[in-house]
């Protein structure tokens, strides 16, 4: 009896973290990236592949955090409606630029190197993409939101996506209004 209850207790203890723990950042990235790779390797039509990747991106990335980070201090210059539109436009811009292009990739392999804590709630997952010609360093910066790890920045060969946008937005907003910036983004995304 004693042994049995002891085993039960151990089992319970083992189960608790498995239930509440959101999974570590590397696992999260690995899962998402593997799913993207599987979509790319599949036989589905281009359109359905794109739709699948969009879905994965929606779970993988925190577009609100990304938007805030790309605008920095300028975030507060936008009113609530503008902020919401900005998030939508940034997401659409990223999806348009990346998704059709990554359909060409399929034989690359992702290798995960290590995890580096940036703060209590932020982590950098370092990986490299092994291609035929070279290994491309690719780091994912993640933030824990509502018990889930989400990507808010991708750093490819030392180039942070967020910083790259931040430089662009800072220059634009130093001479133009938020509305004018949104107008440029609307044009880019393709709706007037």
């Amino acid at each position: 009896m004693k042994i049995r209850s002891f085993v039960m207790v151990i089992l319970c203890i083992m189960l608790i973290p498995a239930k509440t723990y959101a999974g570590d950042p590397t696992d999260t990235v690995t899962t998402h990236v593997d799913r993207v790779m599987n979509v790319l390797k599949g036989n589905a039509s281009e359109e359905s592949k794109k739709a699948d990747i969009r879905k994965i991106a929606g779970i993988m990335f925190d577009f609100t955090a990304m938007s805030k980070a790309t605008l920095g201090k300028n975030w507060t210059k936008l009113d609530t409606d503008q902020q919401q539109e900005f998030i939508r436009l940034l997401r659409a811009m990223l999806e348009n630029a990346y998704i059709s292009k990554i359909l060409d990739y399929s034989d690359e392999k992702a290798v995960y190197i290590k995890e580096r804590a940036l703060s209590d709630t932020r982590v950098e997952v370092q990986s490299k993409l092994v291609t035929k010609s070279a290994d491309i360093p690719m780091d994912y910066r993640m933030v824990k939101t509502e018990e889930q790890w989400k990507v808010y920045d991708v750093i490819i060969e030392g180039v942070s996506l967020i910083k790259n946008y931040r430089t662009q937005f800072r220059e634009i907003l130093s001479t133009q209004t938020p509305e004018e910036l949104l107008q440029v983004m609307r044009k880019k995304v393709g709706k007037i």
Binding site: A65, D104, A134, V143, V159, T167
Partner: protein, 283 residues
């Protein structure tokens, strides 16, 4: 492939090297780089004094820093350090950017796409290895100059292994069987390691984004680049052009993606160049 062709955005390193070859090869063409020449002497001063340039540097107060942190702005570096490169030559740079952009879409990309269709990726990878192997002196010497003795040793070892077991460099046996990775070092990075600033952003025709410092670095590396010594010069240039195209065939979409995702492509390219070089120097 040397750093030169690995550069994600320096995609079309094609004909310009001839200008460089011309400069180092014959004295009478020495004047052809007058635009950057003027800036040469003012290197470091510019880094420090250009505070009034359109790209304002961060001079954040403590309070602003706090709020930035909430917005993930201060990941691991102080934003008081300039986060962008000075661009006093932006007139020239913008003109060259437009020129390179057209050259890229009208010439470099279509040609390379055709080449990539004819030649299988595995063959291109083998050719890529060959060029990477013979550009060893650039990485070896610059590793030494940066006191990275382990990298320097690795480069020598890699060269020895790949030149023999790897069939004159066509197979990267050193990496696959011995786990010896090449280190991406060049003279621009060496100068950066010794605290020399970029001076100014400088867009090179055909070669893409660079800076005064890195252009000087490129010239320096030319002396360590075996193909630069091949005579006649046209042949040397031809081989370099081919090497560049072969390397570029693996990154055919990079510029399209960067440009496609950008709100302001000129600034996006400049910033990507700056970040990429900074990461390499800090390495």
């Amino acid at each position: 492939m040397s750093t030169i062709t690995h550069h994600p955005i320096t995609l079309f390193l094609i004909i310009f090297i001839n200008l460089l070859l011309g400069i180092t090869g014959c004295a009478h063409t020495g004047k052809s780089t007058s635009p950057p020449g003027k800036e040469d002497l003012t290197f470091q001063n510019q880094e420090k004094t250009e505070q009034s340039s359109p790209e304002k540097q961060e001079n954040e107060t403590a309070a602003e820093k706090m709020s930035d942190d909430k917005l993930f702005l201060l990941d691991d570096e102080e934003e008081t350090v300039p986060t962008t490169i000075k661009d006093p030559l932006h007139g020239w740079n913008r003109a060259m950017f437009t020129f390179n952009d057209r050259f890229y879409f009208l010439v470099a990309q279509p040609l390379t796409k055709g080449y990539a269709k004819i030649v299988h990726a595995d063959v291109r990878a083998v050719i890529n290895n060959f060029f990477l192997n013979i550009s060893m002196p650039i990485r070896f010497v610059n590793s030494l100059l940066q006191l990275k003795f382990k990298s320097a040793g690795t480069e020598l070892l890699r060269f020895g292994i790949n030149s023999t077991l790897g069939v004159v460099g066509f197979l990267d046996v050193a990496k696959i069987d011995y786990g010896l990775e090449s280190s991406d070092e060049d003279f621009g990075q060496t100068l950066g390691k010794y605290q020399l600033g970029h001076g100014a952003y400088f867009m090179l025709p055909f070669l893409g984004p660079s800076s005064i410092r890195d252009s000087v670095g490129l010239l320096g590396d030319l002396f360590l680049y075996p193909i630069g010594y091949i005579k006649p010069q046209e042949l040397s240039l031809g081989i370099y052009t081919y090497e560049s195209m072969n390397g570029f065939s693996f990154n055919l979409n990079d510029y399209d993606i960067l440009k496609g995702a950008a709100v302001d492509p000129y600034t996006a390219v400049r910033d990507a160049y700056y970040q990429n070089r900074k990461a390499k120097v800090d390495e």
